[in-house]
């Protein structure tokens, strides 16, 4: 029937086309799922009110509170009045427009990109949007998932569609077997380091290869989550049995004949064998080390076994200038071994690495171990449900015995919109996604790491891999 071989992303585009754009106009795409949180939505709801418009499909829309929410004393009113007002605005708006919301205290409250998948609302073959750049997370299911701005949030609320310019496609081929102590986070940090923070611009990245296929859904979400850190429009992984097994018992998974039909449709969601990508990248999983960042953008990363690069080693003058600026901000010197960098804080959390598997991986390493002196470790589950599951498995006890703070769910120290921040000059090993200047607090210094590296670092006090504990 179809003649031209297509990539997975191109198939999803074709399947959601409401109107094809003429004369340079963008295509109009239908949106299957719209996730909302308190930071990027208030002005969108105001826009609807001003124009006298309603929400077109409240049954394809869901809200939760995550960016501003405290991770302690959640039964008390939010202390910061501006945070409190923003959360209240979301509650008022979802009440006025009759939209489902999971508020603080609810077991489905949490980071929006953890909540969608755990409810089984994120599934293959969908278009998913949210006013948050890490919406790319949902691409792990074989969905076309994109972060959007507030004007676009309003557009989707009013029309359930978005005008979108076509994208290019890039294959990220990751072949081989990850060694012990190396995880999905290390793959994506290596990818961003290789193609740079702007390398994915205009592209949808499709992650392929044996190393991707052998990842759990949690690992795949970690990878797709950080596609935006390479500047990409989206990241995507073709669904397979791992995806179907993950979805099977989720609350909103299709039932009965719908499940059968869904499986049939989902099995076609692969890139055709003869399809051509606009660009291809290859990563060798066999030789990959734990990967960490030394600078102030996620592309400034190296193997944990390496040293901080000399800015003079960059050919590109703007990259060289960026490295000099980053090292000054980070208070680091070229040539310093990554493993010699001591941290003050370890943060285990964020939409990148706060799912149950991430907590298990870290708990397995710290169980029965002692935290390095002077370290503060904060563990913030991605959702209340993850927190409850972790407690069921006794992971909370492992963290608390180790001396870590066991918190309630939210975005927390990933961006410090709530009180969870680093003090000026403090240095963190963080499982989050951005090491930008001031991201985790004014003057704060961030090293992006995997949950396993975070755990090993908390034990040794310096950036460490789990293997270092055995020596």
């Amino acid at each position: 029937m179809s003649s031209k071989p297509l990539t997975l992303a191109e198939k999803l585009w074709r399947d959601h086309l409401v109107l094809k754009g003429e004369n340079g106009a963008p295509d109009l795409l239908y949106i299957d799922l719209h996730l909302i949180h308190e930071v990027t939505s208030p002005q969108a709801f105001d826009g609807l009110r001003l124009a006298g418009r309603d929400v077109r499909r409240r049954d394809l829309t869901i809200a939760t509170e995550d960016h501003n929410t405290p991770t302690q004393d959640i039964h008390l009113p939010i202390v910061d009045p501006t945070s409190r007002a923003q959360v209240q605005a979301l509650r008022d708006n979802t009440r006025d427009f009759d939209i489902r919301i999971h508020s603080l205290g609810d077991k489905n409250q949490g980071i929006v990109h953890v909540v969608g998948p755990q409810l089984g609302l994120t599934m293959p073959g969908l278009t998913v949007v949210c006013g948050d750049s890490h919406t790319s997370t949902h691409g792990a299911f074989g969905a076309l998932a994109m972060g959007i701005g507030t004007s676009e949030v309003e557009h989707v609320l009013a029309t359930q569609t978005l005008p979108l310019q076509r994208f290019k496609t890039m294959a990220i081929n990751v072949e081989g077997t990850l060694r012990k102590g190396v995880s999905a986070k290390d793959i994506i940090l290596a990818v961003i380091s290789k193609i740079s923070t702007g390398g994915g611009q205009g592209y949808v990245l499709e992650y392929r290869g044996s190393a991707i296929r052998s990842l759990s859904m949690e690992g795949r979400m970690t990878i797709c989550n950080m596609s935006i850190e390479a500047g990409a429009r989206a990241g995507i992984i073709a669904p397979d049995q791992v995806t179907f097994d993950y979805l099977k018992d989720k609350p909103h998974a299709p039932q009965g004949t719908d499940w059968d039909q869904a499986l049939k449709d989902w099995s076609e969601l692969t890139t055709d064998p003869d399809a051509v990508f606009d660009a291809e990248v290859f990563i060798d999983a066999d030789t990959l080390d734990p990967f960490v960042t030394w600078g102030t953008n996620p592309g400034q990363g190296v193997s944990l076994m390496d040293s901080i690069p000399d800015p003079d080693s960059f050919d590109d003058p703007s990259q060289k200038a960026a490295a000099i600026k980053a090292l000054a901000y980070m208070d680091l010197k070229a040539g310093t071994k990554m493993k010699d960098i001591a941290v003050d804080t370890v943060f285990l959390g964020s939409c990148t690495n706060a799912r149950i598997e991430d907590l298990r991986a870290a708990a397995d390493i710290i169980r029965g171990q002692v935290m390095a002196p002077g370290i503060r470790m904060m563990v913030v589950p991605g959702s209340q449900k993850v927190r409850l599951q972790a407690e069921e498995e006794g992971l909370d006890k492992v963290f608390v015995d180790f001396g870590a703070d066991w918190r309630f769910a939210g975005c927390s120290m990933c961006l410090g919109m709530n009180p969870d921040q680093l003090a000026p000059g403090e240095r963190a090993a963080s499982t989050s996604n951005r090491n930008f200047e001031g991201r985790q607090g004014k003057g704060a210094r961030t090293h992006l790491v995997s949950p396993m590296v975070a755990a090993a670092t908390a034990i040794r006090g310096t950036l460490s891999s789990p293997a270092d504990l055995e020596q």
Binding site: G24, L28, Q43, G198, Q201, H252, F436, R439
Partner: protein, 200 residues
Amino acid sequence: MEKVTQFTGTGMPLKISNVDTDQIIPAVFLKRITKTGFEDGLFANWRQNPDFVLNNPSYQGAEVLVAGSDFGTGSSREHAVWALRDYGFKAVFSSKFADIFLGNSGKQGLIAGVITDADTETLWGHIEANPAAKITVDLPSQEIRVNEVVIRFEIDEYTKWRLTEGLDDIGITLQSEDAIAAYEAKRESWKPKTLPAKGV
């Protein structure tokens, strides 16, 4: 939306690459629920350094920001565009923009034009040599004119059309409501609905 066509103003050189939206407006300023009044958040952390270009009196009142490559990376916050707009910028030029920032600019009437690295250097040179130099930004012809120099900038045709006509995206889309309804009628029944709520 107001029509955007041509204006003349002065420029400001932001000689930094990889300016992410956390630098354009730190997260602490995102808690507001209004759509205006974000000018104090613009580059709030960098502004605490007296040597930062925004604090240079020579560039006060600038309406054209010329930045290094990879501008607007990171978070999707439209507040970054609101902050630039509220501060008084009407156009920002760079050799490379993050996609979401580019989209957000187009929604708010902020011209985000792509120029070459060489033209970035040229503009920086003109602005630094004479901060009062008048720069004309002409959207229909996609030209930046300063002194006797003419620099072409790239912007996608659709965004240019919408800006010059002052059109509202939602209004345009709602003209296609029949097509949306027709699409909805054939959506697969296995696709998820958030209502009635399950798993609560």
